[in-house]
């Protein structure tokens, strides 16, 4: 079989994460690992997982075909996923998908002939406050309209790696698959990249602007404090006034 010794060693590491006798739990990360070497779940990859976990190929196949992120065909270096669920769709996601599809000449789950790009329309990517969004190998580009998306793809075609809005600099599909298999991102400084955007901080900034914090927070409160009147009787109106002028965690070292 074609898998490198390095990949086999990683596979053993993955299996060791799970309790003894529960090696099947390693199947999802192992399938991600297969994609990190093959760029998709290849027949050899199915066999590799089956052999490692003592499963039949049919059992592995049954799992691999259930999940959207396991690709059945060789996937491009750059997997472009455009959210076209309702919130993104009505704010421009449909147009973005259409523009990319026309520009790249491929449809849903298709790859360009040069093997560079695979396009897909994605279901909700849990970033509605940044709608419309798209991801490249799952890292986010927020508030993307069709023209922005085309620009990102053109940069990738020119060999550049445009910086995602949130999250670290781009990985190739194989590189991100290794992280999905549970291995840390070893690139210098990558974990620090991707500051929280305005929507993430909107509420907490508003609270800061108006000097709002929750009163009565005392970290020394005993765990077994007696509940006068019993639990459930304390309403915001009758809650005890703060004994000390303590603020919730974070007040003192804000912006450290």
């Amino acid at each position: 079989m074609a898998f490198s010794e390095e990949t086999r060693e990683r596979a053993r590491e993955i299996i060791a994460r799970y309790p003894a006798g529960r090696s099947r739990s390693a199947l999802l990360p192992l399938l991600h690992l297969v994609q990190s070497e093959e760029g998709y779940v290849s027949p050899e990859g199915i066999e590799f997982c089956a052999e490692l976990l003592g499963l039949t190929k049919a059992q592995v196949n049954a799992v691999a075909t259930f999940y959207t992120m396991y690709k059945r065909k060789p996937t491009g270096e750059w997997l472009i996923s455009v959210c076209t669920n309702t919130m993104c769709a009505v704010q421009g996601g449909n147009e973005t998908y259409k523009a990319l599809s026309e520009y790249l000449g491929v449809g849903h789950e298709e790859t360009t002939p040069d093997g560079k790009f695979t396009l897909e329309h994605a279901e909700c990517l849990a970033a509605c406050d940044y709608a419309p969004v798209m991801t490249v190998n799952y890292d986010f580009f927020d508030n993307v309209q069709a023209s922005d998306a085309l620009e990102i793809v053109k940069k990738l075609q020119e060999g550049e790696r445009p910086q995602p809005t949130r999250g670290a600099r781009l990985c190739t599909f194989k590189e991100i698959s290794l992280q999905l298999a549970g291995f840390p991102d070893e690139r210098e400084g990558a974990v620090a990249e991707g500051p929280a955007g305005d929507p993430t901080l909107a509420g907490v900034r508003l609270a800061e602007q108006y000097g709002i914090s929750v009163p009565g927070f005392d970290p020394q409160t005993p765990i077994t404090e007696p509940a006068p009147g019993g639990p459930g009787n304390v309403t915001p109106e009758t809650a005890p006034k703060p004994a000390a002028d303590r603020k919730p965690a974070g007040d003192d070292v804000k912006g450290a």
Partner: protein, 444 residues
């Protein structure tokens, strides 16, 4: 990107803000262990490890904390269901804690920013919860696509191991805990807790028949607590501030702070941590008001699986009870705001495409029902609908709701029945040709 709009919300709206879980997000490097520790990090763990596990379960019960993943089940009660050994004997089977970080309900976007900005608060909550239920193995099942948050989380777990917060004999307490961050692979159904467990065991993510419940037969058929990210991240604050302080926020039956995610046609979409029971009117004020030229027409209180509401519900408190009384659910407090420029029929169609795609195929009502509802909605939007189509849609919903194997099917009926209830005229406009088709009739 447009600059945030600056408007002054009313004092009533501002009074609803409760920065607790989101407080540290303002510190740019709070994801790093050293910064987290300077911001009170791991103080709750020290306090918890000095207490008896049963005292912690009681504390969480007293706090009234309810599951933040949508169902609102009392967290302390869930923990209390885990059978503990009797007469000092250890329990027969190992216990497990599993964190549901498979965020994907359309509209929901609170857990990923939390894990990005403040991953250690989740890890600290995990350790305390695992100690309380006597689990030595915990898993965070994070949505596969969320690589940005998983990157931070895996880094934080490494840091926590190195600092002795995870592993053997944590802080000299004698308590051992291993924590694995496990990435999913793209299946919304794995947010359903029993499907998540099957997926974590290396199977197709399909829901299990309940009972037995995970509390006795969960991961590896052992007693298991499955909690949402926000639920677990609330625990350190309860341990520090106490149950009464926690109850100083929210309502009597829905206590505490809650991260509301507002998206759509407002000026400043985003995460707003508020006292449970804030109204949509107040939340929109906090979010800078409606976008110019947009008037509220319909909204989801807690993701696409919660029935739509309209402008007449602007002043209903968004807590578990009041939302139920209004015929919907609090869900994940994923508030999606749509205006007169958005079509409720099209919104429903896109959501049903989603449920069709994500239906796991295990049960017939959900698998077939969503397939056919999608065809019918397409037909209506392409100008080829009939009056009978509306009856067929409602009939399909009757056969899905309560007859599906899990809540995915039930949830799928929410946008269909509620949009027909409030916006039947929109459907009729397509059927009677008053509105031009949105979809190409040739493709249908």
């Amino acid at each position: 990107m447009a600059q945030p709009v600056v408007t002054r919300p009313s004092p009533e709206a501002l009074a609803k803000l409760t920065p607790v879980l989101t407080k540290r997000w303002l510190s740019p490097d709070a994801w790093r262990l050293d910064v987290y520790e300077r911001l009170d990090g791991y103080q709750a763990l020290r306090k918890a490890l000095a207490a008896h596990p049963d005292e912690l379960i009681q504390l969480v019960k007293d706090s009234g904390l309810r599951g933040r993943g949508g169902a609102g089940f009392p967290t302390g009660m869930k923990w209390g269901f885990i059978p503990q050994g009797q007469d000092g004997k250890p329990p027969a089977k190992p216990h497990y804690l599993v964190v549901n970080a498979d965020e994907g309900e359309p509209g929901t976007c609170k857990d990923l920013p939390l894990m990005m900005a403040d991953p250690h608060s989740l890890i600290e909550g995990v350790i305390i919860a695992a100690y309380a239920i006597r689990a030595n193995h915990a898993f965070i099942y994070i949505r596969g696509e969320a690589v940005h948050a998983a990157r931070r989380l895996r880094h934080a777990v490494q840091e926590a191991y190195k600092a002795g917060y995870l592993g053997r004999d944590i802080l000299g307490s004698g308590f051992d805990l291993d924590l694995v961050v496990h990435s999913g692979a793209g299946a919304y159904i794995c947010g359903e807790e029993t499907a998540l467990l099957d997926s974590l065991e290396g199977f197709r993510g399909q829901p299990r028949l309940r009972p037995p419940f995970p509390a006795t037969h969960g991961l590896y058929a052992s007693p298991t607590v499955v909690n949402n990210v926000e639920t677990i991240a609330s625990v350190p604050y309860i341990v520090l501030g106490g149950a009464q302080w926690f109850r100083s926020m929210g309502t009597e039956k829905s206590p505490g702070p809650k991260i509301y995610s507002i998206s759509g046609r407002v000026n400043n979409p985003g995460q707003y941590e508020c006292s449970l029971g804030i109204t949509l009117r107040q939340l929109i004020e906090l979010a800078g008001g409606m976008q110019p030229g947009h008037e509220l027409r319909f909204w989801t209180p807690g993701g696409s699986s919660t029935p739509l509401l309209t402008a007449e519900h602007l002043d209903v408190p968004m807590d578990y009870e009041s939302m139920a009384a209004a015929g919907t659910m609090l869900g994940t407090t994923a508030v999606q705001v749509f205006s007169q420029h958005d079509c409720p029929v099209y919104a429903t169609y896109r959501w049903i495409e989603f449920y069709h795609h994500e239906s796991c195929g295990k049960c017939t009502p959900c698998r077939e029902g969503n397939y056919w509802m999608k065809q019918i909605l397409r037909r209506i939007l392409a100008g080829k609908g009939t009056y009978e189509d509306l009856d067929t849609l409602l009939d399909a919903c009757d056969n899905i709701l309560g007859r599906s194997f899990c809540a995915l099917g039930d949830g799928a009926t929410s946008p269909v029945t509620s949009s027909i209830k409030y916006f039947k005229q929109d459907y009729l406009d397509y059927i009677e040709g008053r509105r031009p088709p949105l979809l190409d009739p040739v493709e249908v």
